[in-house]
């Protein structure tokens, strides 16, 4: 891992203070860097959160989720997109670098280091550091309190400048002079794609060669022509959440459901500790609590799931998922219902996240299964055929609002009930359902409400026929809400 950071210092500290603090900071930073390096090696990924040389710049740093600096980043991205810098040689990675660099804010100012070459982009007149980063892709950017004095244009320039250190070819990434000139070319009021391109080629004439060979990083840059937006789920897939769902479960005389359930609460934990940033692999656990018609509550099925992003191509994310809904923890009353069965599901998802739009297709297969219910002295067996489902989910993204909906189709082999002299066989049937989704997405949280309603079905089928409480629920549908923390 390249631990050379680009840091810019102007003013020297008190010699006595420096004599004690800097060595101590160096030791601490080295320990932290060693730990992070070791953990990164374990997962064979290039993890770039960490300290560069002395580590002082990250002391007391906390993630930066909101505020003028974050807003300025969005505007920096907008400016770069508008200037179409992706097509300029050497700048193909610039937009992704601005978009996805993790932002931190230090709790205290530190002086810049003149020895590393001062720059007006990194420090103020008093020599205090504005920001620092590493000269490698995906590295974090740390801002310092001094940066709060900058106006929006200056912050935009600072974002672009720091990102250039990460995006330019390694041979020039640490050259403060070249980076500064390109920053000026991009941020000046009269900048244009041609002027930027001319400046870049003047500073780096080797990029003008048609026979120029690309490094692996450059090849990756080409693949980022369809970058994943910063707020895409794949960026932060791990969540800890709670949801509450009320079933549309009529109990009237003429239109009643076999389900004794009125609502369900679930606690969800989806953690993605495995894989890489691009191909995370996660394991999820969902605990459910069911509320019955008679007002009692009981433990419901336990969901164990695994999900992974398989690959990304032309801006589409393709993932796979598998869920086992187990009744091992369910209360005995739940086991003695038509829903007391284990459900195994799996499938593929295809997702595309754009700046103001998202769409997702899901294809799934649910295994057949069986549940038993004793009523009086008669044991009834509920046989569920395998189910194929296709789901389309789409919506608009407006700031932190996501407003959309989904439609889904279930094709099932059969639903059979046998007990005593009674037999029922639905034969093949289908259910078409859909509903709205409304979500508020923060950087580290999300709140949403949703609904699921049967739009059409054959054989008078409803969600009871599917026998999947944790999946589609019961009765005629449901409405619910969820609160989640992104980890």
């Amino acid at each position: 891992m390249n631990s050379k950071s680009v840091r810019h210092h102007v003013e020297r500290m008190n010699p006595l203070l420096k004599a004690f603090l800097l060595p101590l900071a160096l030791i601490l930073a080295s320990i932290i860097a060693l730990m992070i390096t070791a953990s990164s090696d374990v997962w064979a990924g290039t993890t770039n959160v960490g300290n560069g040389d002395d580590g002082a710049d990250l002391e007391g740093s906390v993630p930066l989720d909101s505020g003028p600096i974050v807003e300025a980043r969005k505007k920096a991205v907008d400016r770069l997109v508008k200037l179409d810098v992706e097509g300029i040689p050497g700048l193909g990675k610039l937009i992704p670098e601005v978009r996805r660099t993790p932002l931190f804010i230090s709790k205290r100012d530190i002086p810049a280091d003149e020895a590393n070459g001062g720059s007006r982009y990194h420090s103020d007149m008093s020599g205090m550091l504005f920001a620092s980063t590493f000269t490698e892709p995906n590295a974090p950017t740390t801002f310092y309190p001094a940066a709060k004095t900058l106006n929006e244009d200056q912050l935009i320039a600072l974002h672009i400048h720091e990102a250039l250190h990460r995006a330019l070819p390694p041979s020039v990434a640490e050259d403060e002079n070249i980076v500064s000139q390109i920053t000026v070319a991009i941020t000046s009021p009269e900048s244009s794609n041609d002027r930027i391109k001319a400046k870049v080629l003047k500073l780096m004439p080797e990029l003008d060669s048609p026979r120029m060979t690309f490094s692996p990083a450059d090849a990756m840059m080409t693949a980022e022509k369809y970058p994943v937006p910063e707020d895409a789920k794949v960026k932060r897939p791990s969540i800890l959440g709670y949801s509450y769902k009320v079933f549309n479960n009529p109990q009237s005389a003429q239109d009643s459901s076999i389900s004794p359930l009125t609502s369900m609460q679930t606690i969800q934990s989806f953690l993605y500790p495995f894989g890489s940033d691009k191909n995370p692999i996660g394991i999820g656990i969902e605990l459910s609590f069911l509320n019955r018609v008679d007002g009692t509550s009981q433990m419901g099925p336990l969901n164990l799931s695994t999900r992974m992003r398989l690959w990304s191509s032309r801006g589409f994310d393709v993932g796979a998922w598998a869920v086992a809904s187990l009744n091992t923890l369910s209360a005995e009353e739940m086991k003695n219902t038509p829903y007391g069965r284990d459900v195994l599901s799996g499938g593929l998802s295809m997702q595309k996240d754009l700046q103001h739009f998202y769409v997702e297709n899901l294809l799934g297969l649910t295994s057949q299964g069986k549940a038993n219910q004793q009523i009086g002295t008669i044991p009834y067996t509920y046989d569920y055929g395998s189910v194929v489902n296709a789901t389309v989910r789409a919506g608009a993204k407006l700031g932190m609002f996501r407003l959309g909906g989904f439609g889904e189709l279930f094709l099932a082999d059969y639903y059979r009930i046998n007990g005593g002299a009674f037999q029922f066989d639905s034969g093949r049937y289908e259910i078409t359902s859909g509903g709205p989704e409304f979500t508020l997405e923060g950087n580290s949280w999300s709140v949403g409400i949703y609904g699921r309603f049967i739009l059409n079905s054959t054989k008078d089928a409803n969600f009871d026929y599917l026998g999947n409480v944790m999946g589609q629920g019961v009765g005629q549908g449901s409405i619910g809400g969820t609160v989640a923390i992104k980890l």
């Binding site: 009237s252 005389a253 076999i258 009086g376 002295t377 008669i378 005593g420 008078d460």
Partner: protein, 279 residues
């Protein structure tokens, strides 16, 4: 001159005697009661009431007693009857009966006068309600709330006293052999001078249930021949009473609604030529 074949005669006699003995011919031991009682609880028992839509209301099944009245009826069925169709077809006298036992709140004569036993015409299950035979689709709705049944085939019962007699029956016939019925392979003697034959002494059957109170007996042979035997259909019965009457429920050991028939002792068919009874 043809000589008497003594050896051949001996073989003939030695061969015929065991056969005739086995057939019960020759006075070597005809059984006094050549059958025992096969009796089963009507395990599918579900109370349906106007206004109750909870399909799995625990008060509507496995009860010690049920009250039948206007707006409250009882669905009853011996769920595994299909496993016994052959046995019933070959039953003694081809009879099949259903018994209800009134609780102390209702005397047998009142029960007999109030209650009708009607064949159900739609398949149902234990989640049935006043409105639905089953909850799985619209075809599960009763065409008429309160249950679909063949009103023309509703029957009334007869009272049977603890000693097995029917107070309303005509004098018992003499215990002479009766002519065979179409289902019989040979003519069989009527065993006892009681209307139904379910006397205490013959209750030493499968479950040895002894009814020591007056009860009401329904003859369901015709229903059996038309439905379980004729069409392989067993939808059971609905009990209807406009007057409030109480009967013992399916949770009761001896007094639960039960189905009865007489099963010949050790009956089997001989190769195509008829049947014989073994003691």
């Amino acid at each position: 001159m043809k000589t008497f074949n003594f050896i051949g005669f001996a073989v003939l006699v030695l061969g015929l005697v065991p056969m005739l003995t086995a057939c019960g011919i020759g006075g070597l031991g005809e059984p006094k009661v050549p059958y025992y009682i096969e009796s089963y609880n009507m395990d599918g028992t579900k109370l349906i009431a106007n206004g109750v839509s909870n399909q799995n209301d625990p008060n509507t099944y496995t009860q010690n007693q049920y009250t039948l009245k206007s707006g409250q009826r009882l669905l009853i069925r011996f769920e595994n009857l299909s496993n016994h169709v052959e046995s019933i077809k070959n039953s003694w006298d081809n009879e099949l009966h259903l018994r209800l036992v009134p609780t102390s709140n209702t005397d047998a004569e009142t029960l007999k006068g109030s209650i009708r036993l009607c064949p159900i015409t739609k398949n149902w299950m234990m989640l049935a309600t006043w409105y639905k035979a089953h909850p799985f689709n619209k075809q599960g709705n009763w065409n008429n709330p309160g249950g679909d049944y063949d009103a023309a085939s509703c029957i009334k019962g007869e009272v049977e006293l603890p000693d097995g007699t029917n107070p309303d029956a005509s004098p018992s016939p003499s215990p002479s052999p009766s002519p065979g019925t179409p289902g019989d392979l040979i003519a069989r003697p009527k065993p006892t001078p009681t209307p139904h034959g379910y006397t205490p002494s013959t209750y030493k059957g499968k479950d040895e249930a002894v009814i020591d109170v007056p009860s009401v007996i329904f003859d369901i042979k015709q229903w059996f021949q038309s439905n379980p035997e004729g069409r392989s259909v067993n939808y059971g019965f609905i009990l209807i009473s406009e007057n409030p009457v109480d009967i013992f429920g399916d949770k009761s050991d001896a007094y639960s609604p039960r189905i009865y028939w007489k099963k010949p002792k050790a009956y089997y068919r001989a190769g195509g030529g008829g049947g014989i009874y073994r003691k």
